[in-house]
């Protein structure tokens, strides 16, 4: 009996080692350091499909370097931190994140500085595109949308002020609750007559006072773009603060909504190279490839987001050209929210804004 137990023990010990070797940090998995392909983090769905077809596949065709897109869900920051701690760099590039997060990642040492000797084609891109930690890929607009059945042309809302006016514009509303709520609070302040340049640092009391008025009427606090599109299609919300990409895809799916361009603004979404990437130079080459206008035009046609290179517009079909925020007719109406006065404040105070927002919204 005793002998048998000892045998069982050793078999178990062996199993334990095998399990251990399978873990990312394990002794037996050192092989990962050598890689012959790029691993790019994506957000999945249509966006990943657009990146795949517009950038990754053509890049492989031209250079022979294979690109694999991996979906990370919402845990990008956590994964980056884990990679740096374990010195096991699984991704070479992260995509489609905003300045506030990227700055945080950079300051924590998660991102490489962009090598502008390789990425030498950023001259055509919209202002603020070439940062030391990344290069802008596309513009994500934020705008007011309304249901045309609930609000016919003569009664249509015209600005953020109308979003917060529940007597003149009754009906359920939608707003995002996916973190980084500085924009929501800035919109509330703009509705109260504050100009974009005066929004920061946020006057929390004033902003939440405006938000209080609309809170009981917000039926959908969406946490994903898909959820917003669903709410617009089901007419679960007749007024929404939306991203332009999602609004456009809801329209193309038959939602009876219209976009109000007045007061709308955009974020730049960046591609960044992960610190310690074993394929750093190849990653920089992909960053360069992503700035090409003809590739960005393919991207826009799949996902709807406007590319960071205004020259991409000439490669788009005529009907798509005028709805891009980089089109000469629109570029003066929209503004970059990260280029307003004191924008750095919103980067430095993400934690506080999140906490205050959670406290307000959880009740």
């Amino acid at each position: 009996m005793r002998k048998k137990t000892v045998t069982v023990f050793f078999i178990n010990l062996l199993i334990g080692f095998i399990v251990l070797s399978l873990t990312p940090n394990g002794t037996f998995s050192a092989a990962h350091a050598e890689r012959d392909h790029l691993v790019v983090q994506t957000w999945g769905g249509k966006l990943a499909e657009a990146q795949q077809k517009a950038f990754f596949e053509p890049f492989t065709k031209e250079t022979g370097i294979k690109v694999i897109g991996v979906e990370a869900g919402t845990s990008v920051g956590g994964k980056l931190a884990a990679m740096q701690r374990s010195k096991n760099i699984e991704w070479d590039i992260i995509t489609a994140d905003y300045e506030s997060y990227n700055t945080k990642y950079y300051n924590k040492g998660f991102l490489e500085e962009v090598d502008y000797n390789i990425v030498d084609n950023t001259g055509d891109l919209v202002p603020n595109s070439a940062k030391k930690w990344g290069v802008a890929q596309y513009l994500e607009g934020v705008c007011l949308v309304y249901n045309t059945k609930a609000f016919p042309e003569d009664k249509a809302p015209k600005s953020y002020k109308d979003f917060f006016d529940v007597t003149k514009f009754p009906g359920p509303r939608a707003m995002h609750n996916w973190g980084g709520p500085t924009d929501n609070l800035s919109i509330a302040l703009m509705a109260d007559g504050v100009t974009p340049d005066q929004c920061l640092p946020l006057d929390f009391d004033r902003a939440f006072k405006i938000m209080d008025k609309v809170k009981p009427h917000v039926r959908v606090w969406y946490t994903s773009g898909a959820q917003l599109v669903q709410a617009l299609l089901d007419e679960e919300a007749v007024l929404a603060i939306s991203t332009d990409g999602r609004a456009k895809s809801a329209i193309s799916m038959g939602a009876p909504i219209k976009i109000v361009w007045n007061q709308s603004f955009y974020y730049l979404a960046y591609n960044c190279v992960v610190k310690g990437s074993p394929m750093k130079d190849e990653a920089m080459k992909l960053l360069k490839f992503c700035n090409r206008p003809e590739q960005q035009a393919i991207f826009t046609q799949i996902i709807g987001y406007t590319g960071s290179n205004p020259k991409a517009i000439q490669y788009l079909p005529a009907e798509l050209q005028t709805v891009q925020s980089t089109h000469p007719d629109n570029i003066d109406k929209v503004f970059n929210i990260m280029a307003i006065k004191n924008a750095q404040w919103s980067v430095d105070n993400v934690d506080t804004v999140d906490e205050k927002w959670n406290t307000w919204i959880a009740r």
């Binding site: 005793r2 137990t5 000892v6 069982v8 023990f9 178990n12 010990l13 199993i15 334990g16 399990v19 251990l20 919402t74 845990s75 990008v76 920051g77 956590g78 994964k79 931190a81 997060y101 945080k104 990642y105 924590k108 609750n177 973190g179 980084g180 039926r219 959908v220 606090w221 946490t223 669903q230 089901d234 679960e236 993400v350 934690d351 999140d354 906490e355 959670n358 406290t359 919204i361 959880a362 009740r363």
Partner: protein, 287 residues
């Protein structure tokens, strides 16, 4: 039956027991104890030096205590509802004469385990949304005139969580009921107890070990629930695990995330201790 069972238990020496438990202990040590133990000192660090700042912050800001209380409350609701819904099912399954039917019931209970939590949560969205199954049914029956909002509130979260947690309640209760000595029940009935009285005096008290483990499973797992509240709930169902996730993934404040986790762990231990005082877990697990 109990007597023969006890006799059949082989008594292992201490060394043998340790060796047999070794693989599990190693696994738990590496993947549970080590991360937990490294989390604790990290939660006591602020700007590189020892500090209680993160714990102070937790109790200074009203948000965290409020959300912790809500988390415990929702977990308690889910546990109670699972017990009320699950016990009769376990009872029927254990006492059903028709073998095939009881096997079918067992399959129905186990089936949800084969589907991912994500899929099940999305299925509830399809059912509960404004233009979903439930609303169109109620509308077509003429019971309501305007679609109701079932989704993105606490009720939706509790429905979704109960659905996922039910097997964790049913299975332990079932296994205890199934192995109950039926002679005890017969004796009670023989001595003149009504069916109801026999149930409350004999069957139910003897099934308490199963109920105890079912309640523990359901409650502890519910405390850490993440996906379902995020998908089916709204801001009013924000639970503590979502706050931890925000700190880890977006705000990258792992020290504070550690502090919240430690407080959640302590809360769990306290709640179980209170439960133990009231119900007496030690009595439950005594043979």
């Amino acid at each position: 039956m109990n007597l023969t069972q006890r006799e059949s238990i082989h008594h292992y020496s201490l060394l043998q027991s340790i060796l047999l438990a070794c693989p599990l202990l190693i696994l738990l040590g590496i993947f549970y104890l080590y991360p937990l133990l490294s989390l604790f000192p990290e939660s006591l660090t602020h700007n590189g030096s020892f500090s209680l700042e993160h714990y102070r912050h937790f109790f200074r800001e009203p948000l965290y205590g409020f959300i912790l209380f809500r988390t415990v409350r929702i977990a308690a609701y889910v546990t109670v509802i699972c017990f009320i819904l699950g016990y009769p099912v376990a009872y029927v399954m254990a006492y059903m004469k028709n073998r095939k039917l009881s096997n079918l019931l067992m399959l129905c209970v186990l089936l949800p385990f084969f589907t991912s939590i994500l899929v099940r949560s999305y299925a509830w969205i399809v059912i509960l949304q404004t233009k979903g199954l439930l609303n169109s049914f109620l509308l077509s029956m003429g019971l309501i005139e305007q679609p109701l909002s079932f989704l993105y509130n606490e009720i939706a979260v509790i429905i979704g969580m109960v659905h996922i947690m039910l097997p964790f309640m049913i299975l332990p209760v079932y296994s205890v009921l199934k192995n109950l000595d039926r002679n005890l029940l017969r004796a009670a009935r023989n001595l003149g107890a009504s069916a109801l009285k026999a149930f409350f005096k004999v069957t139910f008290p003897l099934s308490l070990p199963g109920v105890g483990s079912g309640v523990m499973f359901t409650f502890i797992l519910s405390l850490g629930f993440f996906i379902t509240p995020a998908l089916l709930g709204g801001p009013k169902t924000l639970m503590i695990s979502t706050l931890i996730e925000q700190q880890i993934n977006r705000l990258l404040n792992w020290e504070f995330a550690g502090a919240i986790s430690v407080i959640l762990l302590l809360t769990t231990i306290v709640v179980i201790a209170v439960f133990d005082k009231i119900v007496g877990l030690d009595k439950i697990y005594k043979e």
